[in-house]
């Protein structure tokens, strides 16, 4: 046997995994259409249909912008991870990787890069389409900062949650059947499609458990004039609480991932 050469460095393997994950996503027509383009289609359709003012000279589309970006983040992270990883678990990709000397962390780094790329692409397209088609007012000054931390924290929470949820369904198809309706209902009660203050109170309470409501709320502070904070059920944007709840979900999601992640299919023992 020849002298042992050294194992490839972590950054190198991380780069390779990031490349793999980006290709896997952007080459798959279904994922590009449903995850990346679906929020854009929603924006185009809702912006055209729900053409009214929500008060203070602000259009519903301006309000919807915050919600649809939150929904886009949810799709790029929670839905994308839950369905993608469940599929890779049931088709043997994960088991195969676990049998190689790839450091396990590299798999998750690759996924995080994928989520970030898809999230940034989704947000960029939404902003451009919103501006060009509906004359959305883009954020300015420190609003960008709020935008960045809400998106980052929300996407971290939802990515971890998606990885944890991926262990529940039997395979990719049942993951899609499970996660898609859940996400849709969550969008309805979290103030994505309708004004959150007009949703029945008990639904608001349910929505407040999950991250989507808080992402949408945080993003409303970015896209709406401060005067409209009075319309919120709490009477303010509650940015501190937004940060707290999302951070709590990051911790919960991380614990769930560590406890539940499996490299092999349940049917496989």
């Amino acid at each position: 046997m020849s002298a042992p050469s050294s194992l490839p460095s972590l950054p190198r393997v991380f780069r390779v995994r990031a490349g793999v994950e980006l290709k896997e996503f952007f080459r798959q027509r279904e994922s590009v259409v449903f995850t990346l383009m679906f929020p854009v289609i929603l924006l185009v359709v809702f912006g055209a249909v729900l053409d009214y003012e929500i008060g203070g000279g602000v259009s519903f589309t301006q309000y919807f912008m915050a919600g649809v970006i939150a929904a886009g983040i949810l799709g790029a992270s929670l839905q994308n991870m839950a369905i993608g990883i469940a599929t890779e678990r049931s088709d043997g990709t994960l088991k195969h990787l676990a049998g190689t000397p790839m450091p396990k962390a590299a798999y998750f780094i690759g996924k995080v890069v994928q989520v970030l790329a898809v999230t940034v692409a989704t947000i960029a397209i939404l902003l451009v389409v919103g501006k060009v088609l509906y004359g959305i007012d883009l954020p300015s000054g420190t609003q960008w900062l709020t935008f960045a931390w809400v998106a980052l924290l929300g996407s971290a929470a939802c990515t971890l949650l998606g990885i944890a949820v991926s262990s529940l369904p039997k395979n990719g198809r049942s993951a899609s059947a499970m996660v898609t309706p859940f996400a849709l209902v969550l969008q309805f009660i979290s103030g994505v499609f309708f004004r959150f203050d007009q949703i029945p109170e008990w639904m608001q309470t349910v929505a407040a458990v999950f991250p989507l409501k808080w992402m949408a709320q945080g993003l409303r502070s970015v896209f709406l004039p401060d005067a409209l904070a009075a319309q919120e059920p709490a009477g303010s944007w509650e940015l501190g609480r937004v940060a707290l709840v999302l951070a709590a979900w990051v911790v919960v999601g991380l614990l769930l991932c560590v406890r539940t992640f499996r490299w092999r299919d349940r049917a496989d023992g």
Partner: protein, 299 residues
């Protein structure tokens, strides 16, 4: 059939052993999936593990691959306990799973390049594609390949890291005979590169064709280990001469088939109708070992 020859005495767990197993036990609930198994596989050897479904084949192999924990016993794979095998150890083994390597949007070459990046001293992905006969599919995506081509891709992924030891779990299930023959010649060329291989299979002809030694596993135990030609004392079993006489099919076991046929020839004064001389096939001895009801117990 009584004279089961234990052809190869167990090796010492020395440096020559790629795999060494002593007293392996794996339980699922109160069922012993593997119930005390001993086995040594030499470096450079192709070893085939045969056995019916549920006999403990896959469980044993997955313990060796580090996928499963064990309940009892001592296991060494390339000198290390697979339960504690790190990246360095993993870089020396290759695994071709029954389930394959999963679906992908990447091309064959991209998949191999990514896989090669996990190993310290990989083979050239382009050369590996040539070796498995997929050179012209380098730019094709994994999912566009036929079943046989996908299996070759799985093998390519298994060997690109230049493993010292390759696990092949039922590599040719679902192949047509032509694809299976091509696959066999691929395995033979890997042997020439010095790779030790542990192969599990349902196909006796595959084991006979490829393996230096065969182990038959049944009920979680290794029933016998032998070279294929000698499994179950096959080479020493009496030949059976059969022919047709007075419109009746007749057969007789004999230790001296040549003399027997000569005598028959004298009796018939010329061609013996429907003459055949047979010895038990690998399948005959195998079925008997795994406890399937034999068709003619006392032949």
């Amino acid at each position: 059939m009584q004279s089961c020859l234990l052809v190869s005495a167990p090796l010492d767990a020395d440096a020559d052993a790629a795999i060494s197993i002593r007293g392996l036990v794996k339980r699922y609930g109160d069922r012993d999936a593997v119930a005390g198994l001993d086995l040594d596989i030499r470096r450079g050897e192709i070893f085939a593990l045969l056995g019916p479904n549920g006999a403990g084949k896959t469980t044993t192999v997955e313990v060796l691959e580090g996928y499963r924990s064990r309940d009892e016993g001592d296991v060494r794979v390339l000198g290390q306990d697979p339960a504690a095998g790190g990246r360095r150890w993993r870089s020396r083994i290759g695994i071709v799973l029954q389930s394959g390597a999963g679906d992908s949007q990447l091309t064959c070459l991209e998949l191999l390049r990514a896989q090669a990046a996990y190993y310290p001293d990989p083979r050239d992905p382009v050369e590996v594609l040539e070796l498995v006969g997929l050179a012209e599919k380098a730019g094709a995506r994994g999912r566009s390949l036929s079943g046989g081509q996908r299996r070759r891709l799985d093998v390519a992924l298994g060997i690109v890291g230049k493993p010292d030891l390759l696990f092949l779990d039922e590599p040719t299930t679902g192949f047509d005979p032509e694809a299976r023959r091509q696959f066999w010649s691929l395995i033979r060329s890997l042997r020439e590169l010095g790779t030790t291989m542990l192969l599990t299979t349902h196909y006796l002809d595959e084991a006979e064709e490829l393996a230096d030694r065969v182990g038959v596993i049944a009920g979680g135990r290794l029933v016998e280990v032998a070279v294929p030609a000698e499994l179950g004392g096959r080479q020493a079993a009496p030949a059976v001469v059969s022919w047709t006489e007075d419109g009746v099919r007749r057969s007789s076991p004999t230790p001296t088939p040549t003399a027997f046929v000569a005598e028959l020839a004298g009796r018939f004064a010329g061609e013996v109708p429907d003459l055949a001389v047979t010895r038990p096939t690998l399948e005959d001895v195998y079925l008997q070992m795994i406890g399937q009801p034999a068709e003619e117990p006392a032949r």
